[in-house]
């Protein structure tokens, strides 16, 4: 790791100022898990690290009187996973938080850090590869190993977004708050992420000096507000791992009939991947094995696998089918053995 100055701002204004003064050479530290990994491998070499933990109040999790929920960017994944009311009202979000890493990682890792973490692509993480995302001129997945890479939305880079929390939050209609030199922005989390065809150097709209401070979830996406949600994740190593594929669904049901749906995939695209195709295939239908399988097929209809990741297509289909059926209490979709 290169040397850096460690800055402890007392408030957000000081933090944004320190970042702005760093002119792109200052990095934000929250839990630090992703940041330190990047610094150790010299993927980034900031001259200054701004510790957000000295800014008070960024780690709060609180329900508003109207039933909506606000989660501070510095809330740990452990605190999200263990929050009883959050788990009841937005189960997909609690399940996603619980699925991240190990106990040790969840104790330190934060919501903001999980949403802003950089790709796990081995070429991106390799100090030896100057890939497209690091200013080089080739995405090595197109000539090398692509087994963990994108089947949807790829090009010119084929990373997948590693966040588990993002698909769950987007399924629950989350908004994100960003504070920066130009003031405060509040936008749907879905619009926070951008494909590599739009922006290559980063996966989000964040500009230097901008800080994610909070995500908020509407009461309408909660159990109390009539929405059921669920998150499923498939990983190669069951004890702790990034997702090969994950899916979050949020459904409004009248009996077994679906009146509104959000279906968001993780691990398949350079951003969390909302499938409006799957959503429109299930809305106004009753949820059962056939309709769920149809929705799952619709989600993957446009998938274009690379040399080594075709397995993700049936995997994603199965997870979507299961998530829809389980959310509607219609079994798991698995054939009886």
């Amino acid at each position: 790791m290169r040397r850096f100055a460690f800055i402890e701002p007392p408030d957000l204004a000081a933090a944004t100022e320190a970042l702005a003064r760093g002119a792109g050479k200052a990095a934000i530290l929250a839990g630090g898990l992703d940041l330190l990994g990047e610094m150790k491998d010299r993927i980034i070499e900031p001259a200054a690290v701004v510790n957000l933990k000295t800014v008070r109040g960024l780690d709060a999790i609180r329900f508003e009187p109207d039933g909506s929920l606000r989660i501070g960017a510095l809330a740990t994944l452990a605190s999200v996973a263990a929050h009883p009311r959050l788990g009841r009202e937005y189960p997909a979000v609690a399940q996603a938080a619980q699925s991240v890493g190990s106990v040790e990682i969840r104790n330190v890792g934060t919501v903001g850090g999980n949403l802003c973490q950089r790709p796990r692509c081995w070429y991106y993480r390799s100090p030896l590869h100057k890939c497209l995302k690091k200013g080089g001129d080739v995405c090595f997945t197109t000539v090398g190993q692509s087994r963990y890479h994108a089947i949807l939305g790829g090009g010119p880079s084929y990373i997948v977004h590693p966040s588990d929390l993002a698909p769950a939050l987007i399924a629950c209609d989350a908004r994100i708050t960003v504070v920066g030199p130009d003031g405060t922005k509040d936008l749907p989390l879905e619009q926070f992420y951008v494909l590599p065809s739009v922006r290559l150097d980063h996966e989000t709209i964040l500009k230097p000096g901008e800080i994610v401070t909070e995500v908020s979830l509407p009461a309408s996406a909660s159990a109390d507000g009539g929405t059921r949600s669920r998150f499923l994740k498939f990983r190669e190593k069951d004890s702790f791992d990034f997702a090969l594929v994950s899916v979050a669904v949020a459904l409004r049901l009248q009996g077994n009939s679906c009146s509104a749906a959000r279906v968001v995939l993780g691990g398949v695209a350079p951003t969390p991947w909302r499938s409006k195709e799957a959503e429109s295939a299930i809305v106004d239908r009753s949820i059962g094995p056939r309709s769920a399988a149809k929705a799952a097929a619709a989600a993957l209809a446009d998938a274009s696998p690379m040399s080594h990741n075709e397995y993700k297509i049936p995997l994603a289909r199965t997870l979507i089918t299961r998530a829809l059926l389980e959310t509607a209490d219609q079994g798991t979709g698995l054939a009886p053995s």
Binding site: M1, R2, R3, F4, A5, F6, I7, E8, P9, P10, A14, E17, A18, R21, L29, G32, L33, L36, G37, M39, K40, A47, A48, V49, N51, K53, T54, A78, G101, S102, V103, E104, I105, N107, V108, S239, F240
Partner: protein, 206 residues
Amino acid sequence: MSGRAKRRAFTRRAFLKGIGLGSVGATVLAAPPSKGTRPAAPAGTGRTLGPGAVAITLKVNGVARTLRVEPRVTLLDALRDRLDLTGSKKICDRGECGGCAVLVDGSPVLACMMLAVDARHRAITTVEGLSTGGRLHPVQAAFIEADALQCGFCTPGFVVAAKALLDEVKTPTAEQVREALGGHLCRCGTYPRIVEAVRSAAGRKG
């Protein structure tokens, strides 16, 4: 230091440190002259530490220890290389193996992925801090009784995380043990005995 420890004039670690001295000296000589280690932060922007070495105090195993580190030094390196607490192991150094686990304010964290400057004002417990008065912590004793280790390199991380689990859940199920220790790798594959050891330690008094 006990009389017995004093008599151990020659240890493997002392030897390794001794042969490393030459290269440490060379590094110090090659370093550019320091221009003052604490640049003053402009008013209102908060405190700036480094990039040069700064004095920090870490509360480790109940004792306040003052040391000088650059902000880039991880908690793990500070514990092992500066405070001589070599129980926490540096294995993957990327948060993927659990060998460096320590307790911070009672919760297990990965010392390799936390900066030492970020651990100020927190209570740090390493595996060295688990035994009291020469008496092993019940988890440590249970590991020995259940023969829950082979090479032993991963053991401190497992023991520390298991201690944290038992502080929270008095009699965990095998599934709860596996979940709590899921972030730890043992390449000798002693997992079944580790689960057995943790469950047999449950409920014992320290």
